[in-house]
Amino acid sequence: MTGHRTGAPTLARVSGPAAPPELRARVRASRSTVARRVLDQPLQRFGVVGAVALLAVTAAFGGLQEQTQDGPEELAVDTAVDLAPFEVTVHRVVWTTELPGQYLTDDGNRWIAVVATVRNTSDSGVLGGALGEALTLADVEGLVQEPGTLVPGVTASSVSLLDDGSTLSPVQPGLTYEAAFLFEQDGSIAAPTSATVLLQEHTWRAGSLDGVEAWWDPTTTLRGELDVREAVSDSDDGQDA
């Protein structure tokens, strides 16, 4: 004997109403047609409506915008790259224990310096904070500066101009600066032989809270694992850090 279908829906195919019987009875007593119809809906339908609402909210904040980049590209030294609002050319990574005008938090520590050429390509001066976010360091043990929450990697303790040792801020448009991004490392740890340099670009937009337009959202577009060597002074071979 073979069984036959009774025509009754199975629990697996149709879910019951979302609300418990007591709540449904109270709503029925209130004579609200809208509330009664809402509570009579199956739970599955609430899930679908909720998902659509969630998608709409994320879409309103750019959730459906096309992804323009899959991931960071490989960084090449001595090659200029556009990182709005800057153009950055990374030359080398060196370490040293002494830099005129720069002070370590502990005399036994050392500086790891990423030497780069920097140019502001926007039409307005930019404070040094945005420049510090544009180039960060990763995969180096013992950096004194903690990794940030908004910027990938560890930001530099300071960005110093090679010519006069001053801090590069503001970065004026149309000028080309030779600078060193300085990262302090614990001296009890061996100097690194390689380091990962991360380059971030920013987006010009109004702030969510105050509406003030500025460079926001540092996003890594290039990364590269570069060799780190000890800096040599002018007296050694004519090339400084």
Binding site: D123, S124, G125, L127, D164, P170
Partner: protein, 214 residues
């Protein structure tokens, strides 16, 4: 209560509920209509920028300009590729250092001017902050006591011809407030001469003493 009274009361209750619902729906529609009209008005007549625009007060070098909060007089600008900051540092630049002396006479109450920017002749804006390489930090000027300060900013030589200097009170917000706009009267000849100048410019700290007397 008779059957007829009960029926009449029921009819009145039903009518009352219907009237309340109509009123609720009507109020909601009125709110939505008001929002829609407001949106159309704001979109059709975009006045926000005009309402919030600064009151720009033009002037030339040596010409006093009266602002809501101070009287300002800009002296002759100077330029070089080297700057002596008067704190032991000598700064170089890949462009040109421009220094501009200012005299600030506060109006009514102590004032600390905190906004400055150079509108370059090349169309770019060169920002000046209260610290850093390009800076303007005059401190607080007391009414009746002229304050003397020097602004410094580094720019490409090409930005100098036609450059204007803007000075204001609040560092981050110049909306609906006076802003001085000074035509510095700079030329290509000035830019060329200063781009090769290696004698350091002196940009000292603010003072209540006139530079002419010191």
């Amino acid at each position: 209560m008779s059957t007829a009274d009960a029926a009449a009361t029921g009819v009145e209750t039903t009518a009352g509920v219907r009237r309340t619902r109509i009123q609720t729906v009507g109020a909601g529609a009125a709110v939505l209509a008001a929002l829609a009209v407001g949106h159309v008005v704001v979109t059709a007549f975009p006045v926000d920028e005009r309402v919030q625009a600064s009151f720009v007060r033009p002037a030339a070098v040596g010409e006093p300009v009266d602002l809501r909060y101070a009287r300002l007089t800009v002296g002759s600008p100077r330029g070089s590729t080297v700057l002596d900051t008067d704190d032991g540092s000598v700064l170089t630049t890949p462009g040109v250092w421009l220094t501009v002396p200012l005299t600030i006479e506060a109006s009514g109450q102590p004032r600390a001017l905190g906004f400055a920017e150079l509108l370059g002749g090349d169309g770019r804006t060169y920002r000046v902050f209260t610290g850093g390489r390009s800076s303007f930090l005059p401190g607080t000027a007391q009414p009746g006591v002229p304050r003397y300060a020097t602004l410094r900013v580094e720019v490409p030589p090409g930005a100098l011809p036609g450059a204007h200097l803007r000075i204001g009170l609040q560092p981050d917000d110049q909306r609906r407030d006076d802003v001085a706009d000074i035509d510095l009267g700079l030329t290509t000849a000035d830019a060329d001469a200063w781009a090769t100048q290696v004698t350091p410019l002196h940009a000292g700290a603010w003072s209540d003493e006139s530079p002419e007397r010191t």
